[in-house]
């Protein structure tokens, strides 16, 4: 199996700050569906940012599909759903416009072509928003907005889909619907998924592997083997 993400002996601290991560070793095979969990401030978002090459480790190395993560050449093939994904614009962007924005990294200049429009329609259909494609995001529920952002992350045909706290601010039903959607997309597309969240109750039955982070990796394995006391990630002890 090719390796999608590999962190070897990684330490990380922000300038003048305390250590955020220490001696992290993590290897994610291509096509894996991995949840990264842990308490707030435990370093899980930093770990994701390192994996995506947005931060450089203080020590150790990070590789993305075999290349140094910060110099990864196929960046348009990285789908990303930011923490509390919210529309950056105040104007009423429609689902179609938001999803189409995900094609810009593939072709940054000029107008949308036929292939772009086809990919946008396909991504919108995949997340079951075809009937709402022309509706402004501001008139959708939190769960539907989240699905629109997932379609945007999918529209360039990603090799890796990274989701940072995608369930923040949405209700339990929407969290479960998201888990089912991600499981279906993983099955259909075979894309590598990194799912970061401080809570993993809704996702643990669909992921293959769970990694708990609290400055170090304190658990790495199938969710079914996780000791009961750790199901509340705030109880993770180093």
């Amino acid at each position: 199996m090719p390796v999608a993400v590999e962190l070897a002996g990684v330490d990380f601290a922000y300038p003048h700050g305390p250590p955020v991560l220490r001696l992290v070793d993590l290897r994610v095979e291509a096509g894996e569906f991995l949840a990264i969990a842990g308490p707030n401030g435990g370093g899980k978002t930093t770990l994701l940012r390192l994996a995506l090459g947005l931060e450089r480790p203080t020590r150790g190395s990070v590789r993305l599909f075999g290349e140094p993560a910060d110099r990864f050449r196929e960046r348009p093939r990285l789908g990303y759903l930011a923490q509390r994904s919210q529309l950056g614009v105040q104007a009423p962007a429609t689902v179609r416009e938001v999803v189409a924005a995900g094609r810009a990294p593939l072709r940054p200049f000029g107008r949308l072509g036929a292939a772009d429009r086809e990919a946008v329609d396909e991504a919108i259909e995949r997340v079951d928003l075809a009937g709402l494609a022309s509706r402004p995001l501001t008139r959708l529920s939190g769960g539907q907005q989240q699905r629109a952002f997932i379609a945007k992350a999918l529209v360039a045909g990603p090799k890796l889909l990274a989701l940072d706290e995608p369930t923040a601010g949405v209700d339990v039903a929407a969290q479960e619907a998201l888990a089912e959607l991600l499981a279906r997309l993983h099955g259909e597309l075979g894309v590598t998924i990194l799912y970061v969240s401080h809570e993993f109750g809704a996702i643990e039955h669909v992921v293959q592997r769970l990694v708990l982070v609290r400055e170090r990796i304190v658990f790495d394995g199938p969710p079914s083997t996780l000791p009961g006391v750790w199901h509340d990630p705030s109880h993770v002890h180093v």
Partner: protein
Amino acid sequence: MFDFEFMRLAFLAGAVVGVLAPVVGFFLVQRQMSLIGDGIGHVAFAGVALGYLIGVSPVWTALLAAVVGAVAIEWLRARRKAAGDQALALVFYTGIAGGVVLISSAGALNANLFSYLFGSILTVTRTDLTRIALLGLGSLILVAVLLRSLLAVAIDEEGARVSGLPVPVLNGAVSLLAALTIGISMRIVGILLIAALMVLPVIAAQRVAWSLRSTMALSIGIGLSSVLAGLTISYYGNLPPGGTIVLSATGFFLAAAAVEAVR
């Protein structure tokens, strides 16, 4: 009114400004940088003053100063040396203070200066019109070429960064476009009021629009209508055009807010 050449020149130049200002303003509003135009405008004021002092056309020195101001704001923001509003305040106040000192040194505190600050329909020359048309067209072409990427950054800046779009370069391009817009609009609207023409049509349009595309189209329509109505009122009322144009835009904003309220 169109028997006079100065009015024909003012309307043609105004039409370019009326289209360009909201197009560029659209991206400033979406980045929550609505006041950046004010900051750059105040630096342009220092440029006008420098032009008087060294005996060079104030239009060119103002344009140069506006570009320098835009680059400074974006550099401060990108390097996180100052938060967006602090970067703006630093450039804003330095620009106005520098302008006051330079204009006083040049002994140019006169009526001609006010035509740069608040616009004048009497002052647009054929040379001005050529410059406005060329720079305006160039700016609109740049926006058209970068539109997809600029929208992607506006919608989701972090996602755009992860996917490899050159976000700092694109943000710099927006600031540069704002500086160009201010530089070429000062003869019509004035450097102290042009920022309003970049922002008011956009915030009016997004109250009644139903998509990004319709927001931009309505912004252009409101911007153009504000300039044409403002110039007409300015001509018949013998008023400074900058003020009448911006008040027309305010009227459109109030109308849009009323439509939104009853919808």
